[in-house]
Symmetry: C2
Subunit: 452 residues, 2 copies
Amino acid sequence: MSGVDVIFEPSSVILIGSSRIREKVGLSSPQLFRSVVYNMKKFFKGEVYVKDVNGEEGQNIEALPKVPELAVLMLPPEKSIIEAEKCAKMGVKAFIIITGGYKDEQRRELLRLKEEHGVRILGPNTVMGVINTANGLNTAFDKDVMPAKGNIAVISQSGGVGACILDWACYYKIGISKFAFMGDKIDIDDVDLLRYFAMDKETKVICLYMEGVKDGRKFIEEARKIVGKKPILALKSGITQESAHRARSHTASMAGSDEIFNAAFKKAGIIRVEDPEELLNAALALSKQPPMFGDNVAIVSNVGGPAILAADAVVRNNLKLARLSDETKRKIESLYLGVDATNPIDMIADARAERYRKVLELVLADDNVDGVLVINMLKSCFFEPEDAKVIPEVAAKYPNKPVVDVAAGGEDFELVYGVIGESSIPVYNLPEKGVKALKVLRTYGRIVEKVG
Amino acid sequence: MSGVDVIFEPSSVILIGSSRIREKVGLSSPQLFRSVVYNMKKFFKGEVYVKDVNGEEGQNIEALPKVPELAVLMLPPEKSIIEAEKCAKMGVKAFIIITGGYKDEQRRELLRLKEEHGVRILGPNTVMGVINTANGLNTAFDKDVMPAKGNIAVISQSGGVGACILDWACYYKIGISKFAFMGDKIDIDDVDLLRYFAMDKETKVICLYMEGVKDGRKFIEEARKIVGKKPILALKSGITQESAHRARSHTASMAGSDEIFNAAFKKAGIIRVEDPEELLNAALALSKQPPMFGDNVAIVSNVGGPAILAADAVVRNNLKLARLSDETKRKIESLYLGVDATNPIDMIADARAERYRKVLELVLADDNVDGVLVINMLKSCFFEPEDAKVIPEVAAKYPNKPVVDVAAGGEDFELVYGVIGESSIPVYNLPEKGVKALKVLRTYGRIVEKVG
């Protein structure tokens, strides 16, 4: 295994912190140490050792039955470097450095360890470190924060934005393969992580939050090699002079002009998004559904108004409302009295599972349709959450046309999500968001056509 | 009381439906009837009578001790008209017609009752009718759907979109004064409802979902009279040819060109939004916070990355990042070692209530600041939900500068919302949404300046 692999898939880990030391800058604290120990002991399937510096509970690394592969450092810079040096000499292969506050000289000390011992380093200042839902590795400093297993990988340069994405993913049960908080990336950087996730079997979609990159050319080259097989989404902040200034001081990276990033992302085939919700909504669609290879969207709904909102969103997002063939329309209208099968199709408020099954099947079979947005409301309708099960069933018969679902609202969304949230169908809480999901599948369709 | 008042504030109501009749088009059904009876008996504080046509439980209107003020009709057109005529003759003052499927001739029959007896009619095809959180009037056909009391009024032309907005408001505990589903508006229309809500003491903000208006000029005139005192938000669908076509057939209204609506809204001082979430997020801000009378936004955060995302959103929304005075910066930096008080202000992950209190107060006191976005994350930070209480406390000292809060994420949002969700501070789950809330307060500030 290369060092980057060890960061995510160590057989054994030592957690090095202190139950006494508290330091304002850099976040060293007994609370952080305790939480990471708690999470690792609870979730990690490999061996966990704990060294409490200046404490009593800790195990001494020299006395361990075997040398751990990975060390997680949660001490102030000076003490971290001393412990890192000991570990490197003993044969530890990689480090995750949670705490921050490192001076340039101290960073150089860490890089010297890399040169002399070949160790790899994630951080410092990663804040939350790494999560791997497959083996339970979890160095997050909030207790019990563990997302559901899935195939979305997230790389975050910022602790705060990463924590927000992580919290969102946990709360809305969005399946995650791995999470990596890069922090100051003195060693392991975007390019290393992209390479790792490109090869990672658990990962189908790669999400990035970035404030800047060290080597833009290399980053673009690496991304271009990947996007044909796995989509890459980027949330890039610091679009303005002021916020770019802040981004530079925040994680010590070059921010660069926003236009340059737009051009670079386009060249690399990276899809740019504007906020954490859009990032995860897009990732959800890409992780579950095929790319869309045409612009024509059909809308199948049990309510009129939300279908019209969806139709508006289709046009606003530069997609097209599919013109259903006469045959499709005739078939639907002959089956259901009172249903006008002009797209967007309002199947009327008493539509249940069977009507969804038949209409969705007819619409997916229509050559004029490239993708379908299904809307099923519960409030003001007779639809029951269990009825939603027909949607993944029918969609599975047309594996080359994306289908997304909208259960518009709060409780409605929760109830429908409870039934098909783990199926192959991404579910959204508003028509606009469902259409945006199809839009990103269309964008990825174009990228695949171009690259492939 | 005028007839429109009776729609919302009747002393007594008769519910007329059937526990046997089921009709596909128009939604008459025993299920709908049962649910409305259930909701009215559970929530309504006035007298409720029930007439089950072709059933056994019902009370005959002729035999009631007194004539109810309002009748809610849930029968197919022909039977509804027969019952409506009886009611009108007995002295019932107003009708809410839930069911649809009325032909032109049947609509004329209803209007004849208005002419002959002076009754007022909401509908037909209102689907969900009316909700008044003050007196518990609730004709929604989903059981137990009752939003929290508040001062946001919603007028919806569509049952489905209205149901989505209602579900959203219930789920996210957004305070509602009254809900009106207009349906086909053969009598009571947007203008009548605007007039009513303009005078309604419980209502501070008016939300509209519309697909078209009957008399645009009158609508604009009426709105212009109101917006100086109460903001009006509009979600208008049917922006494209296809969706406009659908909107016409959906609620039988003239859709008109989208550009004409944009110009009309601008002239009227109506703020346009793009989806139901944006509608309620904007309404929440306007219902709790003062308008913003300048462009300069300060960001006070305990995390760096989300603050940078917020700064980006400020610029994207044509607001400005406030330049704090040297005095403000000096004071903050002398209080907190390691905090760089350049806006956006990153107070560092260990900020608790006291640091929020002091920094927010200094920032609000700064003449260069017109409004403040507070970000308090829990994940990856030491902030506790209870700490959020200082935000409304400090904000209350500066009643002319809006303050909005962002607890970025899923669980984080829920926890902070649980503490200050009912306070004067609107809370959002992403930086972008908090900034959009300030943007709408700024837009309303301009409207007030223009109209006032």
